[in-house]
Amino acid sequence: MTTDPAGASLDASALRRRVADFVAEHDPATTDQHTFLAARFDAGLAWVHFPEGEGGLGAPRALQPVVDEEFERLGFTPVGREGLVIGLGMAAPTILAFGTPEQRARYLKPLYTGEEIWCQLFSEPGAGSDLAALGTRAVREGDVWTVSGQKVWTSLAHRAQFAILVARTDPDVPKHKGITYFICDMNAEGVDVRALRQITGEAEFNEVYLDDVAIPDSQRVGGEGEGWRVAQTTLMNERVSIGGHPEPREGGLISVAAHLWRERPDVRTPGLHDQLMRLWVAAEAARLTKERLRQQLAIGQPGPEGSAAKYSFSRLNQEISGLELEMLGGEGLTYDDWTFRRPEGVEFSKRAPGFHYLRSKGNSIEGGTTEILRNIIAERVLGLPPEPRTDKDVAFKDLPK
């Protein structure tokens, strides 16, 4: 058990006490959110498992939910954090694990307070599931890298100050070995962000064109050619994001279908009833599974179930939204709005059933396709042998494109 500077051991009750002390000093009712969060960071109560001085106290990761719940109980729930998902969920743990002291000092705090928004420049048109096939080039001259290429599926790029970026720095070695990881200033010259319209009509994502963008070597995260390993940390954190609270029964999209069934006897048929109940059962099973995973994570047994949870969630959303349209019949033939616009996040509940149906198609692609998640489970969990690979030992430049 970690001991805190005052000599008291850092268990749940010690942390609750610290939160209470903090809130006593910084009244949530009268302190503005930015000031409050900055002070919370300085007090080590941002991410308790981070080191002291970097937003944490070196406490066990499992105690973070205790701190969050205590803040909530005492009246502080930060708002407007939706845009921070990549910064908080992916950039922060990666910078903590691989960043230089200067990088940690520079980026972690404004990232936490929400002053600076982050995005992720990973996927490319030619490198989706096979991220290591990425072709964006970074060439070093002295202390500056010059980066050119095209990235895609970048949410938040139009609002972000910074991006985590992977680029190819050595095409003469096998593809996993010639990648380097950078922090990219999104306001730098040569960064061109274009909205990417999706099948729902709107644009949640962007294409980002990089045209001779200069990145100082001080913005490199991890060693040259180490980018693949660094990116694994980022991706692992993407797939394990599980909330701190148990979800209630009949949460998520199943509630929309269940509500429709209850309110509208005219949509009911025997066949649809059976389908609805199958999905209700599947949704409840997925909820309990997620809850079990949350309990495992809380006692420090993280498993690969994160990938499975994401897979189940995407399949459920797709099936439920498909059923929702079937229930509606003629009403399902309509849509609410095809306007090309940038939404604030995904507003499932406010949108038409057709939107539910179309948007959920992305769930099995974004953040790792269903196919890749199943490969991960098969190889990492079940230990099944890999496919024969022809692309692992060949220089990147010699691979078929």
Partner: protein, 381 residues
């Protein structure tokens, strides 16, 4: 006739018809140009429809003496496949299938209207909601009184471009079928999930209607139009599924990940094999439904042929809806990110597939209807 009914293959004439329709569509309406059109207020491609009409597509099952091609609904089904394969925004379903079938049931009273539609001079549609299930009874939201029609119908396919509306309405004598000039009706577009198939609400506030059928005749005309529509819709769905399969197989052969075409991965292979099997089965089912619909128009067809047409149409809707939706969904998934973008035409097919699955009765409702016909009754109580 029973020989004919069992023929599940395509005749040479049908293959020729397919080739000329496909060639015209590839030339004038490739998916990219359809995608460009959907930003327009009027997505329907009336110029294309005129060209299709010139090669006889508007009046295939209409006798030559009434301005048609004197072919049958089997040929119509081949055209429907090609229209599905290209998601071409033309009023085939409303005008050449629903309206024309209803009018043909009305004999001489509708001769001039049949002729107008069959030649492509006018287009029409049947003023019922596109989701309407064939066996759901005569529509009662429009009433005739004193020679004029009052009421409204929601979600009518191809109404925006129609010149003639074939309107089921309840009059003093019960069910009646009326021809109304679209200019006499208020036709309001609704935002359609299917970008390439506009639907509209039709309001009638004193429009003049010309009665072309009464009572049981009117009922039969509407029912047969919907049954025929369901059969032909399944042909369109087959075309959608075929496009999705073909596009995905092509993509899987060329898209490389992990140093191999993704189509060399066994999981991808098996999914595409499953899809191919499903599309092959859909083809047999669609041919059977089209044949049964065609037989219903043969001289001497009676109750047995009517039942056979309904069984086959419901079977086709129950089976092919899922095939088309699954094909489009698998296509999107296997295309990965690019399939989720607006700029790739794939979403047009997904939206068509899902909308078609709701149109003219969902698979669920068709299974229920079928169970009654084939004596597998739903549990009571």
């Amino acid at each position: 006739m029973s020989e004919n009914r069992l023929d599940l293959l395509y005749s040479e004439v049908e293959e020729e018809l397919r080739a000329s329709v496909r060639s015209l569509l590839e030339d004038k309406s490739p998916p990219e140009s359809v995608l460009a059109r959907v930003e327009d207020d009027r997505v329907a491609d009336t110029a294309l429809w005129k060209e299709l009409a010139e090669i006889g597509v508007a009046g295939l099952p209409v006798p030559e003496e009434r301005g048609g091609a004197g072919a049958s609904l089997r040929e119509s089904a081949v055209v429907a496949e090609e229209l599905g394969r290209s998601v071409a925004p033309v009023p085939f379903m409303g005008s050449a299938v629903l309206a024309t079938t209803a009018l043909l049931e009305c004999g001489d009273a509708a001769a001039q209207d049949v002729e107008a539609l069959a030649g492509g001079a006018s287009t029409g549609t049947l003023a019922v909601g596109f989701a309407r299930m064939p066996g759901s009874g005569f529509p009662d939201t429009v009433r005739e009184s004193g020679g004029t029609l009052h009421g409204s119908v929601g979600g009518v396919v191809d109404a925006l471009t129609a010149d003639l509306l074939i309107v089921p309405a309840v009059d003093e004598q019960g069910p009646g079928l009326y021809v109304v000039a679209a200019s006499d009706a208020a036709v309001t577009p609704v935002v359609s999930l299917d970008l390439t198939r506009p639907v509209a609400d039709v309001a009638l506030d004193g429009a003049v209607g010309r009665r072309i059928a009464t009572g049981a005749d009117a009922e039969r005309a509407v029912r047969r139009a919907l049954v025929t529509g369901a059969a032909l819709l399944s042909a369109e769905q087959l075309g959608v599924a075929q496009w999705a399969l073909d596009a995905t197989v092509d993509y899987a052969k060329t898209r490389t990940q992990f140093g191999r075409p993704i189509g060399s991965f066994q999981a991808v292979k098996h999914r595409l094999a499953d899809l191919w099997i499903s599309v092959s089965q859909a083809r047999a089912v669609v041919r059977s439904a089209a044949s049964a619909a065609a037989d219903l128009r043969e001289p001497g067809a009676g109750a047995a042929e009517a039942e056979e047409a309904e069984i086959n149409a419901s079977l086709a809707q129950a089976f092919v809806s899922a095939t088309a939706v699954t094909a489009a969904e698998e296509a999107l998934q296997l295309h990965g990110g690019v399939g989720f973008t607006w700029e790739h035409p794939l979403h047009l097919f997904l939206k068509r597939a899902k909308s078609d699955a709701l149109a003219l009765g969902t698979a669920d409702r068709h299974r229920l209807a079928l169970s009654g016909t084939v004596d597998l009754p739903a549990p009571t109580g």
